[in-house]
């Protein structure tokens, strides 16, 4: 039992060290003055932003609308009964902007783009495409990892802001069927409840989540050695680890701002 725990601890530390080292290399590449391959990498970034961000707008919009509707309906009908109707805007800012917006967007990006990154890189390894890139002297960090890192961060931040807006505004417009609060009053209250810290939190969290998704999924995709059967195994591990790390980071950021 002790041996098992020790082995797992060592494996865990080695895993974290590997992911952190990959992250360090990817950021180092960002600030590197070398021009070689910048154009090719930029094309990959554009593709990643399009796939992770633009293509995900409908699904993120639909989920944001439903989540916004549920929260506003629940809060809008329950709070007035206990004499706390004035807190509606605060509750929405608290739940959507600070917590659910970044987290749910990150989960959508993990399920959609994280799996895609991991399986794509795993299949590239199996098909010798990664080996071919190395043989051509093409840096995996510059051509594969950094563009996905930048693309995932940019797309996750933009999607989270989009999620927040759709959940707050769209959810309210749908809920208006049942609620009697005037739209102008609602939006004014939201504006008053929303602080710079709230906006900062949503951006910091979504940026960190984008980074986590890109790096963990790249790490697992590139960890495939040769067999096609490794691809789904690595993808499953990547999903579980990414969601876990995102939740831990969420807690850390929330605690550092509000405790």
């Amino acid at each position: 039992m002790i041996a098992w725990a020790g082995r797992k601890t060592v494996e865990g530390v080695a895993y974290i060290a590997d992911v952190l080292y990959l992250t360090y290399l990817a950021f180092k590449e960002l600030v590197s003055p070398a021009q070689r391959g910048r154009g090719a990498a930029f094309r990959v970034i554009t593709r990643q932003v399009l796939f992770t961000g633009v293509d995900a707008l409908p699904v993120v919009g639909a989920i944001a609308l439903l989540v916004g509707l549920i929260i506003i309906l629940q809060a809008g009908t329950t709070l007035p009964k206990v004499g706390a109707g004035a807190l509606l805007a605060n509750i929405i800012v608290l739940t959507v902007v600070r917590e659910l917006g970044p987290l749910l967007t990150a989960f959508i990006v993990v399920w959609r783009s994280g799996t895609a990154i991991c399986t794509e890189l795993g299949n590239m390894r199996v098909g010798q495409e990664i080996a071919a890139l190395e043989a051509m002297g093409i840096s995996l960090i510059r051509f594969i990892v950094t563009p996905r890192l930048v693309g995932a961060i940019v797309a996750t931040i933009c999607l989270t802001i989009y999620f927040d807006l759709v959940a707050i505004v769209g959810g309210f417009l749908l809920a208006k069927v049942h609620l009697t609060i005037p739209t102008a009053v609602y939006l004014d209250e939201i504006g008053k409840s929303l602080s710079i810290a709230d906006i900062l939190i949503t951006v910091i969290k979504s940026g960190l989540f984008g980074l986590t998704i890109a790096m963990i999924c790249c790490h697992h995709g590139l960890s495939v050695v040769a067999a096609a059967t490794e691809v789904p195994q690595q993808t499953t591990k990547a999903m579980l680890n990414t969601v876990t790390v995102c939740l831990v980071l969420d807690l850390v950021v929330s605690a550092s701002f509000f405790l």
């Binding site: 070689r36 154009g39 090719a40 010798q128 071919a132 043989a135 093409i138 051509f143």
Partner: protein, 244 residues
């Protein structure tokens, strides 16, 4: 003109997995030579090819390719070396979400960033040389294995390498593709003085277009000699391999 050694393996030993190994292999290749490493599966020829191209590092012995020892070289030296070598894997290894044109253009755009007109000219020239210019806008999944491997050869050639390595040349090639490869070996590669090192796991009529066959068995060098003399080598692999 004095021959120039572009590739030298000296007492090289390495292994990959349980079955594949190279033991105490020594071999030199001169500039402009066409050399075929010949042997059955798991005879170590692909590993020897990757050792020669600096894609694997030997456990023992030294490799010098274009004067560089990849095991001792700095990252920048290895990067420069990679641009002077073309390598074709046994799978075509084309990037699956890029068209054939963009695959072949990739090393040019990455390393040299020339004007797009030059990219267009150089890529189309290499695609035409390999007879796959009609597939320029297709994705690898739409190609036959033979055409995909010829496109991979075009990609390996686009940087005008000093040495072209091809692993398992025959995989996926039909009679027509073989004719095109024969045309390449006899024609432009020979005329341009390109050094070619390939591996073959079966007898082929292409043997006679190579300057030397390097026979390998169980990771060991059996003989390195002109094709016409290969069948006379006294070794257990020869009757099996050259029976047909």
């Amino acid at each position: 003109m004095r021959p120039e050694t572009v590739l030298e393996l000296a007492h090289v030993s390495a292994s990959k997995g349980d079955r594949v190994r190279v033991e105490d292999l020594s071999l030199t290749v001169q500039r402009g030579e066409a050399v075929a490493l010949v042997g059955s599966n798991a005879s170590g020829k692909s590993l020897a090819l990757k050792l020669g191209a600096g894609l694997e590092i030997p456990a023992l012995g030294t490799v010098r390719v274009l004067g560089v020892d990849p095991a001792q070289a700095s990252a920048d030296e290895v990067l420069r070396l990679r641009q002077r070598l073309g390598f074709v894997f046994d799978k075509h290894a084309l990037i699956s979400n890029m068209t054939v044109f963009n695959n072949v253009a990739l090393p040019l755009r990455y390393h040299l960033t020339p004007p797009e007109e030059e990219v267009q000219d150089r890529v189309m020239a290499r695609l035409a040389e390999c007879g796959v210019e009609d597939f320029r806008d297709q994705f690898p999944v739409d190609l036959t294995l033979g055409d995909a491997r010829l496109a991979a050869i075009a990609r390996a050639r686009v940087m005008d390498p000093d040495i072209l390595f091809i692993d398992e040349l025959l995989i996926g090639l039909d009679a027509d593709d073989l004719g095109r490869v024969r045309g390449l070996v006899e024609g432009p590669w020979r005329e341009q003085g390109l050094t070619v090192v390939i591996t073959l796991n079966a007898p082929t009529t292409l043997f006679r277009f190579f300057d030397r066959l390097v026979l390998l068995r169980d990771g060991r060098l059996v003989a390195a000699l002109p094709p016409a003399e290969a069948a006379r080598v006294k070794d257990p692999m020869v009757p099996d391999f050259f029976a047909s």
